[in-house]
Protein backbone atom coordinates (compact mmCIF):
# COMPACT_ATOMS: atom_id res chain seq x y z
CA UNK A 1 0.00 0.00 0.00
CA UNK A 2 1.21 3.48 -0.84
CA UNK A 3 2.55 5.08 2.31
CA UNK A 4 0.58 8.31 2.03
CA UNK A 5 -2.76 6.69 1.31
CA UNK A 6 -2.08 4.36 4.20
CA UNK A 7 -1.61 7.32 6.50
CA UNK A 8 -4.67 9.17 5.32
CA UNK A 9 -6.97 6.30 4.48
CA UNK A 10 -6.79 4.27 7.67
CA UNK A 11 -9.14 4.48 10.64
CA UNK A 12 -6.35 6.18 12.58
CA UNK A 13 -5.32 8.49 9.71
CA UNK A 14 -8.89 9.63 9.12
CA UNK A 15 -9.22 10.57 12.75
CA UNK A 16 -5.86 12.35 12.76
CA UNK A 17 -7.06 14.31 9.72
CA UNK A 18 -10.25 15.21 11.57
CA UNK A 19 -8.33 16.23 14.66
CA UNK A 20 -5.67 18.34 12.94
CA UNK A 21 -8.16 20.15 10.72
CA UNK A 22 -10.75 20.49 13.50
CA UNK A 23 -8.32 21.85 16.07
CA UNK A 24 -6.80 24.31 13.59
CA UNK A 25 -10.30 25.49 12.65
CA UNK A 26 -10.98 25.88 16.34
CA UNK A 27 -7.87 28.04 16.56
CA UNK A 28 -9.27 30.15 13.76
CA UNK A 29 -12.54 30.52 15.66
CA UNK A 30 -10.68 31.92 18.66
CA UNK A 31 -8.91 34.47 16.45
CA UNK A 32 -12.13 35.31 14.61
CA UNK A 33 -14.02 35.83 17.85
CA UNK A 34 -11.29 38.04 19.27
CA UNK A 35 -11.42 40.19 16.13
CA UNK A 36 -15.22 40.36 16.15
CA UNK A 37 -15.20 41.58 19.73
CA UNK A 38 -13.68 44.81 18.40
CA UNK A 39 -17.17 45.73 17.27
CA UNK A 40 -17.92 46.37 20.91
CA UNK A 41 -14.97 48.79 21.10
CA UNK A 42 -15.85 51.28 18.38
CA UNK A 43 -17.03 51.56 14.81
CA UNK A 44 -13.63 52.83 13.66
CA UNK A 45 -11.63 50.12 15.42
CA UNK A 46 -13.77 47.43 13.84
CA UNK A 47 -13.64 48.87 10.34
CA UNK A 48 -9.90 49.46 10.57
CA UNK A 49 -9.40 45.91 11.76
CA UNK A 50 -11.31 44.58 8.75
CA UNK A 51 -9.45 46.89 6.42
CA UNK A 52 -6.05 45.82 7.74
CA UNK A 53 -6.96 42.18 7.30
CA UNK A 54 -8.09 42.40 3.69
CA UNK A 55 -5.34 44.80 2.60
CA UNK A 56 -2.65 42.30 3.52
CA UNK A 57 -1.88 40.15 0.45
CA UNK A 58 -1.24 37.21 2.79
CA UNK A 59 -5.00 37.12 3.32
CA UNK A 60 -5.43 35.01 0.18
CA UNK A 61 -3.01 32.44 1.53
CA UNK A 62 -4.83 32.42 4.86
CA UNK A 63 -8.21 32.08 3.15
CA UNK A 64 -6.98 29.26 0.95
CA UNK A 65 -5.58 27.53 4.02
CA UNK A 66 -8.86 27.87 5.90
CA UNK A 67 -10.84 26.62 2.93
CA UNK A 68 -8.47 23.68 2.62
CA UNK A 69 -8.85 22.77 6.29
CA UNK A 70 -12.61 23.12 6.10
CA UNK A 71 -12.94 20.96 3.00
CA UNK A 72 -10.55 18.39 4.46
CA UNK A 73 -12.57 18.30 7.69
CA UNK A 74 -16.05 17.94 6.26
CA UNK A 75 -15.19 15.53 3.44
CA UNK A 76 -13.31 13.27 5.86
CA UNK A 77 -16.12 13.72 8.40
CA UNK A 78 -18.78 12.62 5.91
CA UNK A 79 -16.76 9.64 4.69
CA UNK A 80 -15.81 8.61 8.23
CA UNK A 81 -19.38 8.78 9.45
CA UNK A 82 -20.59 6.71 6.51
CA UNK A 83 -17.98 4.05 7.20
CA UNK A 84 -18.70 4.09 10.92
CA UNK A 85 -22.41 3.60 10.31
CA UNK A 86 -21.73 0.78 7.88
CA UNK A 87 -19.88 -1.04 10.67
CA UNK A 88 -23.22 -1.59 12.43
CA UNK A 89 -25.82 -2.38 9.78
CA UNK A 90 -28.42 -3.55 12.29
CA UNK A 91 -29.25 -1.27 15.20
CA UNK A 92 -29.91 -2.45 18.75
CA UNK A 93 -33.53 -2.76 19.82
CA UNK A 94 -32.49 -1.17 23.08
CA UNK A 95 -29.35 0.90 23.43
CA UNK A 96 -28.32 2.64 26.63
CA UNK A 97 -25.31 4.60 27.71
CA UNK A 98 -22.91 2.50 29.74
CA UNK A 99 -22.09 5.21 32.30
CA UNK A 100 -18.96 4.80 34.44
CA UNK A 101 -15.91 5.60 32.29
CA UNK A 102 -18.06 6.63 29.32
CA UNK A 103 -17.75 10.15 27.93
CA UNK A 104 -20.64 9.66 25.55
CA UNK A 105 -22.82 12.77 25.42
CA UNK A 106 -25.51 14.24 23.22
CA UNK A 107 -22.72 16.28 21.63
CA UNK A 108 -20.53 13.26 20.86
CA UNK A 109 -23.33 11.33 19.17
CA UNK A 110 -24.47 14.22 16.99
CA UNK A 111 -21.12 15.42 15.58
CA UNK A 112 -22.21 14.83 12.00
CA UNK A 113 -25.43 16.81 12.47
CA UNK A 114 -23.77 19.74 14.24
CA UNK A 115 -21.10 19.63 11.54
CA UNK A 116 -23.68 19.66 8.75
CA UNK A 117 -25.32 22.74 10.26
CA UNK A 118 -21.93 24.46 10.17
CA UNK A 119 -21.51 23.32 6.58
CA UNK A 120 -24.75 25.08 5.63
CA UNK A 121 -23.97 28.08 7.79
CA UNK A 122 -20.46 28.94 6.56
CA UNK A 123 -21.31 29.72 2.90
CA UNK A 124 -24.35 31.76 3.97
CA UNK A 125 -22.22 33.61 6.49
CA UNK A 126 -19.51 34.46 3.95
CA UNK A 127 -22.10 35.41 1.35
CA UNK A 128 -23.89 37.65 3.84
CA UNK A 129 -20.86 39.55 5.13
CA UNK A 130 -17.75 39.17 2.97
CA UNK A 131 -19.80 39.35 -0.23
CA UNK A 132 -22.63 41.35 1.35
CA UNK A 133 -23.64 44.97 0.76
CA UNK A 134 -20.65 47.28 0.32
CA UNK A 135 -20.93 50.52 2.26
CA UNK A 136 -18.14 53.06 2.10
CA UNK A 137 -17.12 54.52 5.46
CA UNK A 138 -16.17 58.16 6.09
CA UNK A 139 -12.60 57.24 5.23
CA UNK A 140 -12.31 56.60 1.50
CA UNK A 141 -11.38 53.02 0.58
CA UNK A 142 -12.32 51.66 3.99
CA UNK A 143 -15.38 49.45 3.94
CA UNK A 144 -18.06 50.16 6.54
CA UNK A 145 -18.54 46.58 7.65
CA UNK A 146 -19.79 47.86 10.99
CA UNK A 147 -22.95 49.20 9.36
CA UNK A 148 -23.63 45.93 7.55
CA UNK A 149 -23.22 43.94 10.77
CA UNK A 150 -25.48 46.26 12.74
CA UNK A 151 -28.13 46.24 10.00
CA UNK A 152 -28.05 42.47 9.76
CA UNK A 153 -28.48 41.89 13.46
CA UNK A 154 -31.31 44.32 13.84
CA UNK A 155 -33.40 41.71 12.03
CA UNK A 156 -34.66 39.15 14.55
CA UNK A 157 -34.54 36.28 12.04
CA UNK A 158 -30.79 36.67 11.60
CA UNK A 159 -30.27 36.93 15.35
CA UNK A 160 -32.22 33.73 15.98
CA UNK A 161 -30.34 31.90 13.20
CA UNK A 162 -26.95 32.98 14.52
CA UNK A 163 -27.79 32.17 18.13
CA UNK A 164 -29.04 28.73 17.08
CA UNK A 165 -26.03 27.94 14.91
CA UNK A 166 -23.52 29.17 17.50
CA UNK A 167 -25.15 26.99 20.15
CA UNK A 168 -24.78 24.03 17.81
CA UNK A 169 -21.13 24.96 17.15
CA UNK A 170 -20.69 24.93 20.92
CA UNK A 171 -22.02 21.36 20.98
CA UNK A 172 -19.55 20.35 18.25
CA UNK A 173 -16.63 21.78 20.21
CA UNK A 174 -17.90 20.42 23.55
CA UNK A 175 -16.88 16.97 22.36
CA UNK A 176 -14.51 17.99 19.58
CA UNK A 177 -11.75 19.65 21.57
CA UNK A 178 -10.97 16.78 23.93
CA UNK A 179 -11.69 14.18 21.28
CA UNK A 180 -9.27 15.84 18.89
CA UNK A 181 -6.39 15.58 21.34
CA UNK A 182 -7.20 11.95 22.00
CA UNK A 183 -7.15 11.25 18.25
CA UNK A 184 -3.68 12.79 18.17
CA UNK A 185 -2.52 10.27 20.74
CA UNK A 186 -2.96 12.03 24.05
CA UNK A 187 -4.61 9.83 26.67
CA UNK A 188 -7.96 10.94 28.04
CA UNK A 189 -7.53 13.59 30.69
CA UNK A 190 -10.50 14.87 32.57
CA UNK A 191 -8.95 18.32 32.92
CA UNK A 192 -8.40 18.69 29.19
CA UNK A 193 -11.97 17.62 28.47
CA UNK A 194 -13.25 20.15 31.01
CA UNK A 195 -11.09 22.86 29.46
CA UNK A 196 -12.49 22.01 26.02
CA UNK A 197 -16.02 22.28 27.36
CA UNK A 198 -15.19 25.61 28.95
CA UNK A 199 -13.70 26.79 25.65
CA UNK A 200 -16.79 25.59 23.78
CA UNK A 201 -19.02 27.68 26.04
CA UNK A 202 -16.74 30.72 25.73
CA UNK A 203 -16.56 30.47 21.92
CA UNK A 204 -20.25 29.80 21.38
CA UNK A 205 -21.23 32.33 24.05
CA UNK A 206 -18.93 34.98 22.63
CA UNK A 207 -20.14 34.54 19.08
CA UNK A 208 -23.82 34.58 19.98
CA UNK A 209 -23.42 37.49 22.36
CA UNK A 210 -22.54 39.84 19.49
CA UNK A 211 -25.83 39.48 17.54
CA UNK A 212 -27.84 39.51 20.76
CA UNK A 213 -26.14 42.68 22.00
CA UNK A 214 -26.54 44.37 18.65
CA UNK A 215 -30.22 43.48 18.58
CA UNK A 216 -30.73 44.85 22.06
CA UNK A 217 -28.52 47.94 22.03
CA UNK A 218 -27.40 48.19 18.41
CA UNK A 219 -28.11 51.89 18.14
CA UNK A 220 -25.56 52.59 20.88
CA UNK A 221 -22.77 50.59 19.22
Amino acid sequence: MNALTRILNSPVGRKVTMAVSGLLLLGFLVAHLTGNMLILVSKETFNHYGHTLISNPMIYLAEAGLLGLFVMHFTTGLYLTRKNRAARPQAYERNERAGYASRKTLASTTMIFSGLVVLVFVPLHIWGFKFGAYYESAEPGVRDLHRLVIETFQQPAWVIWYVAVMTIVGFHLWHGFGSGFESLGLSYRKGLRRFGQFLAVVIAGGFLLIPVLIYMIGDKL
Binding site: R6, P11, A86, R88, E93, N95, R97
Partner: protein, 254 residues
Amino acid sequence: MSEMTFNLRVWRQANSESSGRLVDYTAERISEHMSFLEMLDIVNDKIILEGDDPIAYDFDCREGICGSCGIVINGVPHGPNPGTTSCQLFMRHFKADETITIEPWRAKSFPLIKDLVVDRSSFDRIIATGGYISCNTGAAPEANNTPIPKDIADEAFDAAACIGCGACVAACKNASAVLFVGAKLQHLALMPQGQAERDRRALRMVDQMEAEGFGACSNEGECEAVCPKEISTKHIARLNRDYMRAAVKQALRP
Protein backbone atom coordinates in the same frame (compact mmCIF):
# COMPACT_ATOMS: atom_id res chain seq x y z
CA MET B 1 -33.97 -17.20 49.74
CA SER B 2 -36.23 -15.00 47.73
CA GLU B 3 -37.30 -16.10 44.30
CA MET B 4 -37.82 -13.61 41.53
CA THR B 5 -39.61 -13.49 38.22
CA PHE B 6 -38.38 -11.61 35.15
CA ASN B 7 -39.94 -10.74 31.83
CA LEU B 8 -37.39 -11.43 29.15
CA ARG B 9 -37.35 -10.10 25.62
CA VAL B 10 -34.82 -12.27 23.85
CA TRP B 11 -33.50 -11.86 20.32
CA ARG B 12 -34.29 -15.04 18.36
CA GLN B 13 -32.85 -15.52 14.92
CA ALA B 14 -32.42 -18.93 13.31
CA ASN B 15 -29.35 -18.02 11.26
CA SER B 16 -27.59 -15.13 9.56
CA GLU B 17 -29.90 -15.27 6.54
CA SER B 18 -33.24 -15.20 8.35
CA SER B 19 -34.55 -12.10 10.05
CA GLY B 20 -34.76 -12.05 13.80
CA ARG B 21 -37.12 -10.62 16.38
CA LEU B 22 -37.52 -10.16 20.10
CA VAL B 23 -39.52 -12.97 21.72
CA ASP B 24 -41.06 -12.72 25.20
CA TYR B 25 -40.25 -15.30 27.86
CA THR B 26 -40.91 -15.45 31.56
CA ALA B 27 -38.04 -16.46 33.82
CA GLU B 28 -39.63 -17.91 36.93
CA ARG B 29 -38.25 -19.02 40.28
CA ILE B 30 -34.95 -17.22 39.84
CA SER B 31 -32.66 -16.94 42.83
CA GLU B 32 -30.79 -13.71 43.38
CA HIS B 33 -27.60 -15.79 43.59
CA MET B 34 -27.93 -17.13 40.07
CA SER B 35 -25.74 -15.77 37.35
CA PHE B 36 -27.30 -14.31 34.25
CA LEU B 37 -26.39 -17.42 32.27
CA GLU B 38 -27.86 -19.73 34.94
CA MET B 39 -31.07 -17.76 34.65
CA LEU B 40 -31.01 -18.35 30.88
CA ASP B 41 -30.40 -22.08 31.56
CA ILE B 42 -33.59 -22.22 33.63
CA VAL B 43 -35.52 -20.56 30.82
CA ASN B 44 -33.99 -22.97 28.31
CA ASP B 45 -34.95 -25.99 30.44
CA LYS B 46 -38.55 -24.89 30.21
CA ILE B 47 -38.28 -24.23 26.47
CA ILE B 48 -36.82 -27.70 25.92
CA LEU B 49 -39.55 -29.35 28.01
CA GLU B 50 -42.09 -27.58 25.85
CA GLY B 51 -40.38 -29.08 22.82
CA ASP B 52 -39.09 -25.83 21.42
CA ASP B 53 -35.67 -24.68 20.29
CA PRO B 54 -33.64 -23.36 23.25
CA ILE B 55 -32.02 -19.92 23.18
CA ALA B 56 -28.49 -20.24 21.79
CA TYR B 57 -25.80 -18.28 23.64
CA ASP B 58 -22.05 -18.56 24.00
CA PHE B 59 -20.13 -19.49 27.13
CA ASP B 60 -17.20 -21.55 28.25
CA CYS B 61 -15.52 -20.85 31.58
CA ARG B 62 -18.40 -19.12 33.39
CA GLU B 63 -15.84 -17.48 35.60
CA GLY B 64 -15.10 -14.32 33.67
CA ILE B 65 -11.79 -15.28 32.10
CA CYS B 66 -12.40 -16.82 28.68
CA GLY B 67 -14.35 -14.09 26.93
CA SER B 68 -16.86 -16.44 25.28
CA CYS B 69 -19.97 -15.04 26.82
CA GLY B 70 -21.26 -11.79 25.52
CA ILE B 71 -24.81 -10.53 25.65
CA VAL B 72 -26.20 -7.04 25.38
CA ILE B 73 -28.41 -6.75 28.44
CA ASN B 74 -30.84 -3.83 28.60
CA GLY B 75 -28.87 -1.97 25.97
CA VAL B 76 -25.44 -2.38 27.58
CA PRO B 77 -22.91 -5.10 26.68
CA HIS B 78 -22.43 -7.46 29.67
CA GLY B 79 -25.22 -5.63 31.49
CA PRO B 80 -25.36 -2.96 34.16
CA ASN B 81 -22.32 -3.82 36.28
CA PRO B 82 -18.87 -2.39 35.50
CA GLY B 83 -15.94 -4.76 35.10
CA THR B 84 -18.17 -7.83 34.75
CA THR B 85 -18.73 -10.46 32.09
CA SER B 86 -22.27 -11.69 31.42
CA CYS B 87 -21.42 -14.97 33.14
CA GLN B 88 -20.34 -13.14 36.29
CA LEU B 89 -23.36 -10.89 36.41
CA PHE B 90 -25.79 -11.96 39.13
CA MET B 91 -29.53 -11.68 39.23
CA ARG B 92 -29.42 -9.65 42.45
CA HIS B 93 -28.43 -6.72 40.23
CA PHE B 94 -31.92 -6.76 38.71
CA LYS B 95 -35.23 -5.79 40.21
CA ALA B 96 -37.86 -8.53 40.55
CA ASP B 97 -40.44 -8.44 37.73
CA GLU B 98 -38.12 -6.27 35.66
CA THR B 99 -38.30 -6.53 31.88
CA ILE B 100 -34.88 -7.48 30.56
CA THR B 101 -33.98 -7.04 26.90
CA ILE B 102 -31.36 -9.49 25.67
CA GLU B 103 -29.60 -9.03 22.34
CA PRO B 104 -26.48 -10.26 20.57
CA TRP B 105 -23.39 -8.15 19.85
CA ARG B 106 -24.32 -6.19 16.76
CA ALA B 107 -21.54 -5.42 14.30
CA LYS B 108 -20.97 -6.09 10.64
CA SER B 109 -17.68 -7.76 11.56
CA PHE B 110 -19.42 -10.09 14.05
CA PRO B 111 -21.88 -11.92 11.79
CA LEU B 112 -24.69 -13.57 13.68
CA ILE B 113 -24.66 -17.36 13.86
CA LYS B 114 -27.80 -17.97 15.87
CA ASP B 115 -29.85 -16.07 18.47
CA LEU B 116 -27.24 -14.53 20.78
CA VAL B 117 -24.21 -16.22 19.23
CA VAL B 118 -22.00 -14.24 16.90
CA ASP B 119 -18.89 -15.14 14.95
CA ARG B 120 -15.91 -13.28 16.41
CA SER B 121 -13.25 -14.85 14.20
CA SER B 122 -12.51 -11.37 12.81
CA PHE B 123 -10.65 -10.86 16.11
CA ASP B 124 -8.60 -14.01 15.46
CA ARG B 125 -7.70 -12.77 11.99
CA ILE B 126 -6.53 -9.45 13.45
CA ILE B 127 -4.32 -11.31 15.95
CA ALA B 128 -3.02 -13.52 13.16
CA THR B 129 -1.63 -10.48 11.32
CA GLY B 130 0.74 -9.54 14.13
CA GLY B 131 -0.50 -10.00 17.70
CA TYR B 132 2.49 -12.10 18.68
CA ILE B 133 6.26 -12.10 18.95
CA SER B 134 7.74 -14.30 16.26
CA CYS B 135 11.33 -14.69 17.45
CA ASN B 136 12.16 -17.90 19.24
CA THR B 137 12.33 -17.23 22.93
CA GLY B 138 13.51 -20.62 24.17
CA ALA B 139 12.71 -21.69 27.69
CA ALA B 140 11.26 -19.26 30.19
CA PRO B 141 14.03 -16.72 30.92
CA GLU B 142 15.20 -15.73 34.35
CA ALA B 143 12.71 -13.03 35.33
CA ASN B 144 15.30 -10.53 36.49
CA ASN B 145 17.44 -10.70 33.35
CA THR B 146 15.40 -8.03 31.62
CA PRO B 147 14.58 -5.29 34.10
CA ILE B 148 11.21 -3.69 33.44
CA PRO B 149 9.98 -0.85 35.66
CA LYS B 150 7.03 -1.86 37.79
CA ASP B 151 4.66 0.79 36.40
CA ILE B 152 5.36 -0.28 32.80
CA ALA B 153 4.94 -3.93 33.73
CA ASP B 154 1.62 -3.08 35.38
CA GLU B 155 0.35 -1.24 32.33
CA ALA B 156 1.36 -4.07 30.03
CA PHE B 157 -0.38 -6.48 32.36
CA ASP B 158 -3.54 -4.37 32.37
CA ALA B 159 -3.57 -4.48 28.57
CA ALA B 160 -2.86 -8.20 28.59
CA ALA B 161 -6.00 -8.74 30.69
CA CYS B 162 -8.09 -8.43 27.50
CA ILE B 163 -10.12 -11.60 27.04
CA GLY B 164 -11.23 -10.71 23.51
CA CYS B 165 -14.95 -10.84 24.32
CA GLY B 166 -15.82 -8.04 21.90
CA ALA B 167 -17.88 -5.95 24.31
CA CYS B 168 -15.88 -2.88 23.21
CA VAL B 169 -17.09 -3.38 19.65
CA ALA B 170 -20.63 -4.07 20.82
CA ALA B 171 -20.75 -0.87 22.87
CA CYS B 172 -19.13 1.45 20.34
CA LYS B 173 -21.51 3.43 18.16
CA ASN B 174 -19.05 2.83 15.32
CA ALA B 175 -18.52 -0.85 16.16
CA SER B 176 -14.82 -0.01 16.36
CA ALA B 177 -12.32 -2.54 17.62
CA VAL B 178 -9.62 -0.06 18.62
CA LEU B 179 -9.74 -0.90 22.32
CA PHE B 180 -9.22 -4.59 21.53
CA VAL B 181 -6.48 -3.87 18.99
CA GLY B 182 -4.94 -1.26 21.29
CA ALA B 183 -4.76 -3.75 24.16
CA LYS B 184 -3.33 -6.46 21.93
CA LEU B 185 -0.70 -4.06 20.60
CA GLN B 186 0.27 -2.49 23.90
CA HIS B 187 0.77 -5.57 26.03
CA LEU B 188 3.60 -6.31 23.59
CA ALA B 189 4.66 -2.76 22.68
CA LEU B 190 5.28 -1.89 26.33
CA MET B 191 7.72 -4.80 26.72
CA PRO B 192 11.33 -4.91 25.46
CA GLN B 193 10.56 -8.16 23.65
CA GLY B 194 7.83 -6.45 21.66
CA GLN B 195 10.02 -3.74 20.16
CA ALA B 196 11.46 -5.60 17.16
CA GLU B 197 8.09 -6.03 15.47
CA ARG B 198 6.35 -3.03 16.99
CA ASP B 199 5.86 -0.96 13.82
CA ARG B 200 4.92 -3.86 11.60
CA ARG B 201 2.49 -5.15 14.20
CA ALA B 202 0.72 -1.79 14.54
CA LEU B 203 0.37 -1.33 10.78
CA ARG B 204 -0.81 -4.84 10.08
CA MET B 205 -3.28 -5.15 12.93
CA VAL B 206 -4.92 -1.77 12.33
CA ASP B 207 -5.09 -2.42 8.59
CA GLN B 208 -6.70 -5.79 9.26
CA MET B 209 -9.18 -4.15 11.60
CA GLU B 210 -10.15 -1.84 8.75
CA ALA B 211 -10.34 -4.72 6.28
CA GLU B 212 -12.69 -6.58 8.63
CA GLY B 213 -15.09 -3.64 8.51
CA PHE B 214 -14.81 -2.26 12.06
CA GLY B 215 -15.34 1.49 12.45
CA ALA B 216 -13.03 4.23 13.72
CA CYS B 217 -12.86 5.73 17.22
CA SER B 218 -15.05 8.68 18.21
CA ASN B 219 -13.43 8.93 21.65
CA GLU B 220 -16.62 8.32 23.60
CA GLY B 221 -15.11 5.80 25.99
CA GLU B 222 -18.14 3.48 25.98
CA CYS B 223 -15.72 0.61 25.34
CA GLU B 224 -13.80 1.20 28.55
CA ALA B 225 -17.06 1.49 30.46
CA VAL B 226 -18.29 -1.95 29.36
CA CYS B 227 -14.94 -3.76 29.27
CA PRO B 228 -15.06 -6.60 31.81
CA LYS B 229 -11.34 -6.04 32.38
CA GLU B 230 -11.76 -2.24 32.52
CA ILE B 231 -9.02 -1.70 29.96
CA SER B 232 -8.22 1.97 29.65
CA THR B 233 -8.72 4.00 26.49
CA LYS B 234 -5.14 5.20 26.93
CA HIS B 235 -4.25 2.10 24.94
CA ILE B 236 -6.26 3.61 22.06
CA ALA B 237 -4.24 6.82 22.29
CA ARG B 238 -1.10 4.69 22.23
CA LEU B 239 -2.41 2.76 19.24
CA ASN B 240 -2.91 6.08 17.42
CA ARG B 241 0.65 7.13 18.25
CA ASP B 242 2.18 3.79 17.31
CA TYR B 243 0.27 3.55 14.05
CA MET B 244 1.11 7.09 12.94
CA ARG B 245 4.74 6.73 13.89
CA ALA B 246 5.04 3.44 12.03
CA ALA B 247 3.22 4.82 8.98
CA VAL B 248 5.39 7.96 8.83
CA LYS B 249 8.55 5.90 9.29
CA GLN B 250 7.47 3.67 6.47
CA ALA B 251 6.71 6.65 4.25
CA LEU B 252 10.12 8.19 4.91
CA ARG B 253 12.04 4.96 4.40
CA PRO B 254 14.35 5.42 1.40
